[in-house]
């Protein structure tokens, strides 16, 4: 389990680079799959013609204005959620941790639904800001409540779970008391979907998310220290409060902003870091990029699969990630059970 200090040290750097390159290739494949699948099937030849500017039959509008931004957005938010999850997991030294555990998703959901209820006319425009603010507020609240004295990882997890439950209860209350016609839009958002997302959404979040991901990468060496636990990190010269606070802020912002555009896509922040750790080990420098790539593959692939399964109907990406993520997670837990028993 992740709670042991830096468990996977056995991989060399050559294997790490190979893995990262391989993940990038898989991501490219996932993006191409995302471009071809959907209500209008697009064969590979038309795809190349359109993307690379060849002559011949083209599908400019569907590919360039609908599927490309949507798929890129899926990949970007997937990467953000995964990095956020990896940072939160190592800060809390807890494999259970994910953006959801810190109450971020529920805070964002509550803010968006309140927004649709109070200002229905401006709801669509305000929703992203409301989600980001709500997620940040919930994450900050959890941090403040947990940080009286030392920030204790187990305490923070419990407080995060409890805060999330409280906000979920409020969300349910809003959902069942709401009677307006705008009911299905929040529902789709709550399940996590990229339906109707385009260049404007991508342009709105891409700069911020890219900078935040880079920041997280820069923090990765400090995270190695923090992963040893606050006491040992302090003994090795880390400024705990500053470093942990900064890392947590980056993680919360990544998750909250992602949720604000694509809704609650579960399991990416929980799963991708686990997969990445199995691939490249526990040190944060290869771990965070690997997690970002894995998360991007996961999200882009889920969105594409959701469109490919039963066209023209769409299955929300959030449902696909949960249906894929939960069994994988279960398998992961069982296999770790076995290996633990084997080694005594």
């Amino acid at each position: 389990m992740r709670a042991d200090p830096l468990p996977y040290h056995r991989f060399g750097s050559r294997r790490t680079s190979c893995t990262l390159i391989l993940l990038s290739l898989v991501l490219t494949a996932a993006v191409l799959f995302g471009l071809t699948s959907g209500a209008v099937p697009i064969p590979a030849s038309v795809l190349w013609n359109t993307l690379l500017g060849f002559d011949g039959p083209r599908q400019d509008f569907i590919l360039l204005n609908l599927r490309l931004p949507r798929t890129l957005l899926a990949a970007l938010t997937g990467a953000s959620l995964a990095v956020s999850g990896a940072v939160i997991q190592s800060l809390l030294r807890n494999p259970l941790a994910s953006p959801k555990i810190a109450g971020i998703n529920s805070g964002a959901a509550f803010a968006v639904l309140s927004c649709t209820l109070i200002l229905p006319a401006h709801a669509s425009g305000l929703a992203p800001y409301a989600a980001a603010a709500g997620g940040l507020a919930a994450g900050g609240l959890v941090w403040i409540m947990a940080s009286r004295g030392q920030v204790d990882a187990a305490r923070l997890t419990l407080i995060g779970v409890a805060t999330g439950f409280a906000l979920d209860a409020a969300v349910e209350f809003l959902l069942v008391t709401q009677t307006g016609p705008e009911f299905s839009a929040p529902m789709i958002w709550l399940t996590g979907s990229l339906w109707g997302r385009g260049w404007t959404h991508l342009a709105g979040v891409a700069p911020v998310l890219s900078v935040l991901i880079l920041l997280a990468f820069l923090l990765s060496f400090r995270l190695d220290l923090q992963y040893l636990g606050p006491a040992r990190a302090a003994a090795l010269g880390a400024r705990n409060r500053l470093e942990r606070g900064a890392a947590f802020l980056v993680a919360v912002l990544l998750a909250a902003i992602s949720v604000s555009v694509v809704g609650v896509i579960g399991f990416v922040g929980l799963m991708a870091p686990h997969i990445a750790m199995r691939l490249v080990g526990g040190r944060h420098w290869p771990l965070l990029p690997a997690a970002a790539l894995t998360g991007a593959i996961f999200c882009a692939g889920a969105d594409a699969a959701g469109r490919a399964i039963a066209p023209p109907a769409e299955i929300s990406a959030g449902i696909v990630t949960a249906l894929l993520g939960a069994p994988f997670f279960i398998w992961l837990l069982i296999s770790e059970n076995r290996s633990q028993r084997g080694t005594g």
């Binding site: 439950f165 349910e172 209350f173 959902l175 299955i315 959030g318 949960a322 069982i334």
Partner: protein
């Protein structure tokens, strides 16, 4: 014990006295046995209010006992039907029964109970319980994973039918508004049978509380206790969910209240949890009808609105749910 009885009496009275028609009051209870000659108000009381209140009371008792059983057999204060994926498993059973033509012939409570059992078994398999040693963190992890899987499948089942999504949300948060007498009979049957079984297990649960090794040494196989306790809890939960949807938090809050009120002897805790659960749900049902200025809200939301802040307060004060590990 007295507090539990008082809570039930007050909540039941209030729940019976409130509702959509203000002209129906407790006095109309006298019409219960009047058959066809009953006035309209008396019929309302007999056919709508009484089944609804009874079902709330029985649901509370069932869920309280299920939660206490699970917390005892896993020796984990955070265990509850909702957190171990049992609620979501039962919900998946319902959706299967409604949406999949192949399961149409199976009665819904049976299907829900079976899926609840399967979910519990999966959660325990993940947590390593069948090897005789339960890891608390793994148990919660597994429960969350199983629950998420079940709920994603539930959502998938309804994705394609947009019109019913509002009712589904109402159902998935737990609602007793439409419950009639036949469901009450089912709940009562399970409450009596499950309560009896839980009480019979109480001695083993007491041994279990001493620790798995001590329990083994005193002649009770902890694995059998685990299996029996979970099976009873899954049946209690499965039938409850098939009637009213997965009501969260009742199974988490009630056992904690019971443990804070009584000595840690499961022969006393079990009836107390049943009483407290019944009282909690009766009050929640009454409150759900009294909410000012808008339509009724489902009782599950009221329970969640009470339970979630309580959980947060308990965690913040360092008591109650604090010892998850």
């Amino acid at each position: 014990m007295l507090a539990g009885c008082a809570a039930i009496a007050g909540g039941t009275g209030l729940s019976l006295a409130t509702g959509g028609r203000s002209d129906v009051g407790l006095a109309d209870l006298s019409g219960l046995f009047r058959g066809a000659e009953a006035t309209l108000a008396e019929q309302t009381m007999r056919d709508i209010r009484v089944p609804r209140t009874l079902s709330a009371v029985l649901l509370g008792a069932n869920l309280g006992m299920a939660g206490l059983l699970l917390q005892a057999v896993t020796r984990n204060n955070l265990a509850s039907p909702g957190l171990l994926g049992i609620n979501q498993g039962a919900a998946l059973g319902i959706v299967l029964g409604v949406a999949a033509p192949g399961f149409a012939a199976v009665p819904l409570p049976l299907l829900a109970t079976f899926c609840a059992l399967a979910a519990a078994a999966l959660t325990f398999a993940i947590s390593g319980a069948f090897s005789g040693r339960i890891d608390a963190m793994r148990l919660i992890l597994g429960g969350i994973a199983v629950g998420a899987l079940g709920f994603a499948a539930v959502r998938l089942g309804y994705t394609l039918e947009d019109d019913v999504s509002r009712q589904i949300v109402r159902w998935t948060v737990g609602d007793v508004a439409g419950v009639r007498m036949d469901a009450v009979g089912r709940l009562a049957l399970v409450a009596v049978a499950g309560g009896g079984a839980a009480f019979a297990l109480a001695h083993r649960l007491n041994l279990m509380a001493l620790g798995q090794a001590a329990s083994h040494g005193l002649g009770a196989d902890p694995r059998r206790t685990l299996a029996a306790g979970t099976a009873v809890a899954a049946i209690l939960t499965g039938v409850s969910v098939s009637v009213a949807g997965p009501i969260a938090f009742a199974g988490l809050v009630v056992p904690h209240l019971a443990k804070s009120l009584a000595v840690p002897d499961y022969r006393r805790l079990m009836p107390l949890a049943a009483l407290l659960g019944a009282g909690l749900l009766a009050w929640a049902d009454a409150l759900s009808k009294l909410w000012p200025g808008m339509a009724e809200i489902p009782v599950g939301v009221v329970v969640a609105l009470i339970g979630a802040p309580w959980l947060l307060a308990a965690v913040l004060s360092g008591k109650g749910a604090g010892n998850a590990r």
